[in-house]
Symmetry: C2
Subunit: 156 residues, 2 copies
C-alpha cells in the first residue's frame, strides 16, 4: 500500500471511530446497550432482591465507577455501593415494586419517570431520575428527584 | 513559629478549605452565589435581550466553559455560545418570557421547572432543566427537557 493510501485509510478509520463514538453517546452501539435497555435494567435492579441477579443486571447497565444519588440523601459511589444501597432500600420496603417510563434522551443524557408501588399496588412515591450515559451506553451517573417537578410560584 | 505549629496551621487551613468546598457544592458559599441565585440568574438571562446585560448575568451564574443542551437539539459549549443561542431563540420568539421555579437541590445538582409564555401571557411551552453546579456555585451544565416527565405506560 502506498503512503498516500495508508494515510487515507487512517483518516477513514479515524472518521469511522469518531462517528461510532458520536452514535454511542445516544445509542450505545459500542456495547450493544440501548438507552431503553439501560433504563429498564436499572429499574429492574431495584426490583431484584437476589444479590447475584441484581449485580448481573447492574454489571450490564451501570458503570463500575458510576454514581447514584437522591435526596434521602443517598450517595452511592460505584456499582457495588449502588447494589448495597438497593438492598438496604428493599429491607426497609419489603414487597414494594418500581415501575419506570421509557427514557427521554438527548446529548447522552436522559430522564426517566418512576413510581414506587406498595405491596398492595397503590402508589407510595413518584419521581424522576436524571441519567448521564458513557460513550459505551452504560450509566455513568443517576441523580434522582422525588415528586413532580417543582411548582412555579405566582411571584416568579 | 515552630515547625509543629506551622504543620498544624497547614492542616487547619486544608480542613477549612475542604469544608468550604463541600459547603460550596450546595450553597456556593465560595462565590457568595446561592443555588436560587444561580437558577434565577439563568432564567433572567433568557429574558434579557440586551447582550451586555445578559452577558453580565451569565458571567455571574454560568461557568465560562459551562455547557447547555436541550432536545431542539441545541448544544452550547461555553458561556458566550449560550448567550449566542439565547439571542437566536429571542429572535425567533420576540416578546416571549420565561418563568422559572425555585430549584430543588442535592449533591451539587438541581432541577428547575420553567414555562415559556407568549407575548399575550399564555403558555407556549413548559419543561424542566437539570443543572450541575461547580464547587463555586456556578452552573457547569444545564440539560433541558421539554414537556412533563415521560409517562409510564401500562406495560411497564
Amino acid at each position: 500500500m502506498s503512503k498516500l493510501a495508508a494515510g487515507l485509510g487512517a483518516v477513514l478509520l479515524a472518521t469511522i471511530a469518531t462517528a461510532a463514538m458520536a452514535a454511542g453517546r445516544d445509542r450505545a452501539s459500542t456495547a450493544g446497550l440501548t438507552p431503553d435497555e439501560a433504563a429498564a435494567g436499572h429499574c429492574a435492579a431495584w426490583n431484584t432482591t437476589n444479590r447475584a441477579d441484581r449485580d448481573r443486571l447492574l454489571e450490564r447497565v451501570f458503570a463500575r465507577d458510576g454514581a447514584y444519588s437522591d435526596p434521602t440523601p443517598a450517595y452511592a459511589a460505584g456499582r457495588a455501593a449502588l447494589s448495597d444501597h438497593i438492598a438496604k432500600f428493599q429491607r426497609r420496603n419489603p414487597g414494594g415494586r418500581f415501575r419506570c417510563s421509557a427514557p427521554q434522551i438527548h446529548h447522552g443524557a436522559m430522564r426517566v419517570s418512576w413510581l414506587f408501588l406498595k405491596p398492595d399496588g397503590t402508589v407510595d412515591a413518584e419521581g424522576t431520575d436524571f441519567y448521564e450515559l458513557g460513550q459505551d451506553g452504560q450509566i455513568r451517573r443517576i441523580t434522582g428527584f422525588f415528586g413532580p417537578p417543582p411548582p412555579i410560584g405566582p411571584d416568579r
